[in-house]
Amino acid sequence: MNIIIGMINGMITSATPILLAALGGSLTFYAGIFNIAMEGMMLSGAFFAMLGSYYFHSWGMGILFAIVGAILMALVFILFAVVLKMDEFITGIGLNLFSVGLTTYMLRQIFKVKGAFSSPEIVAIPKVDIPLIKDIPVVGQILSGQNLVVYLTLIAVIAVSYLVFKTRFGLRLRAAGYNRTALDTSGVSANRIRVTSLILCGVLCGLAGAFLSLGYVTLFTENMSAGRGWISLAAVILVSGNPIGIALISLLFGFTDGLGLFMQRSLPSQFTSMVPYVATLVALFVYSMRLKKKQTV
């Protein structure tokens, strides 16, 4: 029983940052932006979260810093891709590299360390116990006692779905992706919508980053996002941006990650670490097969 509860909790833990970043990617996907900068935004978020928490001894400041740091990256993306009309793909790659460089440099410059920084001064984001529910056996161990960010993520899934499908902003957001000239000629600047979606993406990626460095650990390591931004991009592509679909796919990735840890008893760790990436390939394969089937029948 405990193993299963452990695996479910592991699944939630690994799914959370991917899901948050993918929700951000969902917004930019609907806005018609080829946004591959989630990786960089998440990494910056992780660094700044650690920075804020370290200096103010407060996880709240950590989250705030994470969001500001990720929005800064979003602004750089906006400057190059929207204002200077640079290719979105190149901007994204450039931004990811910039983020790696910047966080590594600051780690070295501010904390005088290479590789990783950890300190008791860094305050982690707390777990939240839900009264009553926490006393239910089994279910209580899953529904209650999760990290605050996990609950925020749950709210974010609902909020993003509502935003995209039920609001004025959502109508304009999707129009920007479907046909941006149609939106422009309707008197709504498609660029303004794109900018808004990128900033919201920054907020969500910042939160994802904060979860990485202040969630279950209190440390920052170089390139800590480790490809999660790319996996979240794959998730967005696989379900064409749909937030609920993204949540399910992210949980699936989280599950394979947990599965990998579980398999460590019988396989070398290098192989179990591959699992999420192999899972992404498999998911892409299934997706392509489905498309192909549709086309040949």
Binding site: R168, F169, L171, R174, Y178, D184, G187, K294, Q295
Partner: protein, 534 residues
């Protein structure tokens, strides 16, 4: 370096029919003064154009393709900034930095390409940009839908507010565009070539609607190059030529010939230019072709056609009735569900494209995507296909390119097809539209393929280039090549084709001898299909 379009033939003759242009504060609603617009690298789209529009008139703006009509209107609408000049609207100088501001001020524009979100319903499209909301930003769908329904009834538009735009006809989409502007209470309506996407039968209905709007007090600015329509519909007419204004005249004083002369600067003849030569043996044949697309919709049904040597077969039809799919299948971009394609008796249906290209030359409608690589040099564009079919362009068993011969070939195309360019190293996209098409024509016609597929070969070209392309096509006919000509321009089809096929909903519904039919009959068939069709 030669920059086509800038240095070529300065417009000299002074305008002949100029009305006195003084702002009348009661009557006039818009005054555009000394507008200049330049498109890099070297296209002067508008050269010191001034024009005034009156309240409650239908004012046509006519000119050839490239005369600057659309650009002038886009500047008024805030889609493009003018490089200099001023706009006075309702007595105040205005400068709209985007269409939103123009719409807010009361000026709306319906574009040539319909700009709607196809995935949205009619009402969603109409309210987009001025949506009713409740609690902060929650879209009030119920209210929005009702408002749109009311507007539809107010203007007798006969539209279903819940229909998805991708499922309704082009004419209906155009109505949605107009409705969208009326929903925002605009007083000035700009219509950019609204009839170009309609069939002859749909046009009178549009004109009735526009006249009704005028009588309601709306001002309508109507861009067109169809002189008959302009004379039928408008109150006053402004003529542009090569970015300059030739004059503004009252429609009741104008004649078709007079307008044509103002537009082109010389007399134009509209008539067939074919001689009476007899067609020879069958060069190209389509047999029992069917195509069902990935979404399981039948796009082509039992297509049969033959093209003989020295014959031009025209294909008429409203866009989206299977022409695109037929072209794609002939060229091998998609595979038919059943049926076959033959050239000179040989089945080429499933041969690789390179094999087909030995017998099929192809002039596509979409120069930028199918006809050339915009970023490559002219020489690189010219030797495409030739580099595989003609040994002289390669050495080492086809592995190394022979640049000397490629360069010589570019010169040959330049000579034979009168391309205005500085050198073969020039980047293709820096050429004017007409010269781009000449390069493509040169490449394809010099392939010496017996059959030529022409897909809208003159789309977007100016009158001079159109004439040139037509002459080349007639030339090929005299050389006994067979041609299949797809065109949205009925005048072009009647001018060039020996026979006409009409496509409707993926079927060929009529095969007509050009001399024995007329535009009205073809227009009817395009819209309604054949009488015996279910």
């Amino acid at each position: 370096m030669v920059f086509p379009g800038v240095l070529a033939q300065p417009v000299s003759s002074p305008p002949e029919f100029v009305l006195p242009e003084r702002m009348d504060p009661v009557q006039d609603i818009i005054e555009m003064n000394r507008i200049v617009k330049i498109f890099p690298p070297a296209l002067v789209a508008l050269d010191d154009v001034s024009v005034t529009f009156r309240k409650g008139e239908i004012h046509a703006i006519v000119g050839e393709n490239g005369a600057g009509k659309s650009t002038l209107m886009k500047i008024l609408y805030g889609m493009q900034p003018a490089d200099s000049g001023e706009i006075i609207f309702n007595g105040k100088a205005v400068k709209f930095s985007d269409p939103g501001e123009a719409i807010l001020a009361g000026i709306g524009m319906v574009h040539q390409e319909i700009m709607l979100v196809n995935q949205y319903t009619v009402w969603e499209n109409v309210v987009l940009g001025s949506e009713p909301v409740k609690f902060i930003d929650h879209l009030d769908s119920k209210k929005a839908r009702q408002l749109v329904k009311d507007k539809i009834e107010e203007f007798h538009f006969n539209l279903d507010p819940d229909a998805k735009v991708e499922d309704i006809s082009i004419a209906a989409r155009q109505k949605v565009e107009i409705l969208k502007l009326l929903f925002r209470n605009v007083s000035v309506l700009i219509m950019d070539e609204p009839t170009s996407v309609l069939t002859p039968q749909e046009i009178p209905q549009l004109f009735d609607e526009l006249k009704r709007l005028r009588d309601d007090g709306h001002t309508i600015l109507f861009i067109s190059h169809h002189l008959e329509e302009v004379l039928q519909l408008s109150d006053r007419i402004t003529v542009l030529r090569k970015g300059r204004k030739v004059g503004t005249i009252e429609a009741k004083d104008a004649t078709k010939a007079g307008l044509a002369q103002m537009m082109v600067g010389r007399e134009v003849i509209f008539e067939s230019i074919r001689n009476g030569q007899q067609p020879g043996k069958v060069l190209f044949e389509v047999k029992g072709l069917n195509y069902i697309d990935p979404d399981k919709r039948q796009r082509l049904t039992d297509i049969n056609l033959k093209v003989r040597a020295g014959e031009i077969v025209g294909v008429a039809g409203v866009e989206g009735n299977g022409q695109l799919e037929l072209v794609q299948i002939i060229m091998g971009l998609i595979e038919p569900t059943s049926g076959s394609i033959l050239t000179i008796g040989e089945d080429i249906t499933r041969q690789p494209i390179l094999e087909k290209r030995k017998r099929v030359a192809f002039v596509p409608q979409d120069r930028a995507n199918m006809g050339a690589s915009a970023a490559a040099t002219i020489t690189e564009n010219v030797i495409m296909t030739h580099h595989r079919l003609n040994d002289r362009f390669t050495s080492w068993a086809g592995r190394i390119l022979n640049f000397k011969h490629a360069q010589a070939f570019t010169d040959e195309v330049q000579d034979k097809f009168d391309v205005q360019m500085s050198s073969g190293e020039t980047i293709f996209k820096s050429l004017s539209g007409g010269n781009q098409q000449k390069v493509i024509l040169g490449r394809e016609l010099l392939l010496d393929a017996p059959f030529i597929l022409l897909d809208q070969p003159t789309r977007g070209l100016d009158v001079g280039s159109i004439e040139y392309v037509h002459r080349q096509i007639i030339n090929m006919r005299e050389q006994k090549r067979g041609m299949l000509l797809f065109s949205a321009d009925l005048e072009e089809l009647f001018r060039l084709s020996d026979r006409l096929l009409v496509m409707h909903r993926g079927k060929i519904v009529a095969e007509l001898i050009t001399e024995k039919t007329n535009i009205t009959e073809v227009g009817y068939l395009m819209l309604e299909g054949a009488a015996d069709e279910a």
